[in-house]
Symmetry: C2
Subunit: 418 residues, 2 copies
């Protein structure tokens, strides 16, 4: 556990011993056991990611519906900014991510319970993979969440910079999650250590991730996927993600085999390994989102909306990483263009329910702590009230203006008391 | 000027009139003139971007050379984190960007002077293109700089989160540049309005951007570029960037022509237009970097290092946006892989001079305001000193611990005074 030597050794002490002479004595308990706590902590971090991202998305979505700018016709009201395609293309994938991370958080919770149960029966077989999985998903979700909160702030325009928007503090408090409990880049290298072992040595048989074992069928395939099916069928989409992850992984393994010294190869190709790990983790999130939708979901029309969000999440990733999909031959440029058209149409489908989908997070105004994201949408009077609370507004001319600032502005600097 | 109606109308007032009856009277001065000030302000913002990014890069590069982690062999010192390929792949493109933005800032300064001179001779011909150019480059450089500062903070690990690293404040003070003087996304739409006019109507003949007029030769070409030449020759690289920008622009124009109502088409395809605008602006930065290197550059070996940085900048963008290059057929997957290998080798070439390249910015420790980035590299004793200045460290046990925190921890909450 390179990035976590301090945590790992601390954990070790619970099962190992130090003699009275100060000598360290390794215990008989398998080393893997010490990873159990890490798995627990990281799955908690993934659950928190969904929570933080959904707060930011709730604020940005509500304010995007309140805020109007440009596009007035015949003196009518201006356009709600949520109706601009550029706004939708930045906001709705984050909304979809907030839901995706919630489901992956639930799955990791199940995974941890499963691993714990197996450990009690002295079955350590799934622990390494569970460890790699939580490491990768911690990295993926915290990076996306930190970036997503900042993007939500920008989506609120100048008002997002206000303290009373709630977003600057949310970002500042959240962003260390990218660094603590394992730096996000280093964690991805661990996923890849694991995944390359799988694809390179083929030594892996059963495991918690069905994806891993399905890789074999996707290795040598050079066929691209049917364009129309990418648009209509989740299984075609999933297969494209599987093929991309598998082929990137195989390409890494092949390049690694050109090095005499494997350690040197890992160091030299670490950037490619990180990219392959991201592909692998995105596959897991997409597949678990799709699995979730195969279950029964209560509430009329809810499942339908989640289907739209699931497609947005997958197609947004496909567009963002189309270089991966194209270079591995998983899709053709024609598919990429069709996927893009489909994405645009999905944004229109989610638009009428966007507010309901963030209301569904069920956050109180007190918890959100954001004037821009208040439930009743009565933003501007509340902003005005909040501005009065700024100490700078206690007097018409702020303290120090006549003494310090005015002389500077009037270039009377020599006689100023500065 | 949709996003800047307030600024534009303010500017208008200098040349327009309001009568005593309160009636607005348009002046005879061409409307374009009011954009002159915007061009000036935005070119200043581009110059500032290079300054802010180079500060962050200076801090992160110096600290990456000081900080050692893992990789100790036979009890020797651990590896400097700057020697990890993952660190290099995140840090060195930012170093290259800091230089690229400096050169594009110089060019924009020249462009503004040129436009001003023409305006005095009543020549308004280049103003619209200069306006689109500065709008796009303001967007490109401020987005990259804000993201880059935050990336530099992450590259410093947990210590980057410290106030004394200087990076959190640098980010907080810089990031509004993405929103003020024209929101970055809206600005890109203006570039595209302009560029689509060019490629769609072909009405454009001469202008300040030679790139624009060269588009014609790249329109219908379906050939990809020679893989080896991409690695060795700047002109091949430049041509790939030109072809990508041209083909994305043409694709947009073709898709737009499917709409009966052009306004509706622009709204519907705005996301694609933004991506095409980014491609166009990146082309400008790459081409001006290459132009700079055709001039004489004093100092032994300096030009050689700048050549390496120029290649890193271009190939990093090519890798990051390989989806664009692949889907437009400008490169093949084989080229993409070769470009990636080349990038890795360039990182090794820049590594020995990385510190010199940030020292060259010539920032004093006082100006940098960062313990992690101090010139003498004596980071840890200085961090310790700074920690003593934290009011929390004035006493061994901070105020309030016994009163409030301990009871919570010891679950004596009922008897606590909270």
């Amino acid at each position: 556990m390179r990035e976590n030597c301090s945590e790992a050794s601390f954990e070790c002490f619970r099962v190992s011993q130090v003699t009275c002479e100060g000598k360290y004595k390794q215990s008989d308990v398998p080393r893997q056991l010490v990873y159990g706590t890490m798995v627990y902590v990281r799955q908690t971090i993934v659950a928190d990611a969904s929570c933080a991202l959904s707060r930011a998305v709730c604020i940005a979505t509500r304010y995007s519906a309140v805020r109007r700018q440009f596009g007035s016709q015949n003196g009518g009201p201006e356009t709600q900014v949520i109706d601009y395609k550029t706004q939708q293309s930045r906001l709705f994938p984050l909304l979809a991510s907030a839901y995706a991370f919630r489901f992956i958080g639930e799955w990791l919770k199940w995974l941890y319970a499963d691993v714990t149960q197996r450990l009690q029966a002295n079955d350590f077989s799934t622990l390494p993979e569970a460890h790699a999985c939580t490491a990768g998903l911690k990295s993926l979700t915290t990076t996306a969440t930190a970036d997503g909160i900042e993007e939500c702030r920008k989506l609120c325009g100048g008002h997002g910079y206000l303290c009373s928007s709630g977003l600057p503090e949310l970002f500042a408090v959240y962003v260390p999650a990218c660094t603590y409990e394992g730096d996000n880049t280093v964690l991805l290298l661990q996923v890849r250590d694991m995944s390359c072992k799988v694809s390179h040595e083929d030594c892996f048989s059963a495991g918690v991730q069905q994806e891993t074992s399905r890789y074999n069928s996707l290795y040598d395939s050079s066929r691209a996927f049917n364009a129309m099916s990418l648009r209509c069928s989740k299984s075609a989409l999933l297969e494209a993600f599987e093929a991309r992850a598998a082929r990137m992984s195989v390409a890494c393994a092949q390049n690694l085999s050109n090095f005499d010294n494997p350690e040197e190869g890992f160091a030299e190709l670490s950037v490619d390994l990180v990219e392959a790990a991201v592909a692998h983790c995105q596959l897991i999130v997409v597949s678990k989102f799709i699995e979730k939708l195969q279950q029964e979901i209560p509430g009329k029309g809810v499942k339908q909306q989640l289907e739209v969000l699931c497609n947005i999440y997958a197609l947004f990733l496909l567009h963002k990483h189309q270089g991966d999909f194209l270079s591995t031959g998983c899709i053709t440029p024609k598919h990429a263009a069709l996927a893009n058209d489909e994405l645009r149409s999905l944004y229109s489908q989610v638009r009428p329910n966007a507010i309901a989908l963030v209301d569904a997070f069920n956050y109180t105004d007190h918890y959100l702590g954001s004037i821009l994201g208040c439930y009743d949408g009565n933003v501007y009077p509340k902003l005005y009230e909040a501005a009065w609370k700024d100490p700078l507004n206690e007097s018409v001319v702020p303290d120090g203006y006549h003494q310090y600032i005015r002389p500077l502005l009037k270039q009377e600097i020599r006689t100023a008391r500065l």
